[in-house]
């Protein structure tokens, strides 16, 4: 497996691979996402309790789930950087963190918008929303650290260490927030997840989940391509890629 992975350590090879994969992921993401969301918005029946407002679920739930997954992916990349010094996976941290942060922001905003008709206020200190807010802070920390160094290699490693520390803490934070929530609200009002969801509502949700996954990968690839170019700026293949003429440096 290592022999097969080895050429990927060369930035140009990784760039080509990302370049090749990106259109597939983008096209599939747009396709699956539009089918899922149109299905969810047009054909899925309205919820008997929440009426049509439950349709926000089709973006809120995928965004919330993948905001966490992106963090885990980032932490895995961080582990690889620190153990095998594979710099491309360090650049992956920079590429993935804003995507995760945006997904977190989407989960927060749609949660607030959903909360207004459901709870009557924009913001409730509900366990999931609070966890998402803290996750946003964690992303902010990783990004701030990444850019805080003159030497981008150091920033990458510092962000990697922080991402690993964060991933150890994430379950503890999640657990403590859930516990805090039940402590202060009694039987809480988690209307977000219906105990059993009708198949007519479930299928579009599954499609939306798949679509968000594909879209996240596509966005990370898009940013990863940029980061590889940025780090390799000045090399002949980069000049050729960016404006068609190799520099003779």
């Amino acid at each position: 497996m290592w022999r097969w992975l080895h050429p990927l350590a060369k930035p140009e090879t990784s760039y080509r691979l990302a370049d090749k994969l990106l259109p597939w992921f983008s096209i599939l993401a747009v396709l699956v996402l539009s089918i899922g969301l149109v299905w969810g918005l047009v054909f899925a029946p309205a919820d008997y309790q929440q009426g049509d407002s439950f349709r926000i679920m089709y973006i809120h739930v995928p965004a919330a789930i993948f905001s966490m997954s992106v963090y885990f992916a980032m932490a895995a990349a961080a582990f690889i950087v620190l153990v095998w010094q594979w710099k491309i996976s360090g650049w992956f941290i920079q590429a993935a963190a804003p995507v995760g942060a945006v997904l977190t922001a989407i989960a927060l905003i749609t949660g607030a918008i959903w909360g207004k008709p459901t709870w009557g206020t924009w913001w409730v200190w509900d366990a999931r929303l609070t966890s998402e807010l803290i996750l946003l802070f964690l992303y902010a920390g990783v990004l701030a650290l990444y850019y805080a160094f003159e030497d981008s290699k150091k920033g990458m490693k510092a962000a990697a260490i922080l991402a690993l520390v964060g991933v150890v803490n994430l379950p503890i934070i999640h657990f403590s927030v859930e516990w805090w929530n039940t402590l202060h609200q009694g039987a809480s009002i988690t209307k977000f997840e219906a105990p059993s969801i009708a198949p007519s509502m479930l299928w579009p949700l599954l499609l939306a989940l798949l679509g968000f996954a594909l879209l996240s990968v596509a966005l990370v690839l898009l940013r990863l391509k940029n980061e590889i170019l940025r780090q390799e700026l000045g090399k002949p293949w980069v000049s050729k890629e960016l404006h068609g003429e190799p520099s003779n440096g």
Binding site: L145, A148, E150, K154, A158, L162, I172, F175, V177, W179
Partner: protein
Amino acid sequence: MKLSSLSLIMWVIRRDLRVANRQRSEWLNPLIFLLMVITLFPLGVGPGEQILSRIAPGIIWVAALLSGLLGLDRLLREDYEDGSLEQLVLQPVSLSMTGLGKIVAHWLLSGLPLVILAPLFGLLLSVPVSAWWVLTLSLLLGTPMISALGAIGAALTLQARRSGTLVSLILLPLLIPLLIFATSAIEAAAMGLPANGQLAIIAAMSVLALTLSPLAMAAAIRMSIR
């Protein structure tokens, strides 16, 4: 010179305490800051006993977190600037153990005074006397976690630009569980309920932080020095 881990830790602690003794204001300032924050709250929300005792656990712990973060710069910055940190890295001893010594020294200067002052905080914010014991215990068990995670933050931001605010930015989210369990322990005790569960969780988190953070700290220092 071959040192066992324990004597190495003791050596680092003694050294850091000796340095701190020379610049007392460095570690006294966060404590005075903490006392000031605690004084500000009764002035801000009114001196009513009921509201004060209701929000006291939160105030004390938020203030403890903030003052803990204030003094973090001292943990490594000076050693880094005068080159002695580099010397420590080059020594043929475990850097994690050196880090652990620094964490303990930092706790002795920032956490232990809080534990001693805990009854005073309880008095000022009208925490019921029955909860003082849990308040003290929560500070005793919880403040090592601030020092341990704080050491990671200090090591990570050694060479960063604008490191002052950065440390708080990366550490505060990680300290949220501590805040939640510590305040809830004190609240439970104030209501006459047992707080053993929360205190046990705080102790577990501190132990976890103390075992893992020297490793992360050593990795971060190596990264900064090289």
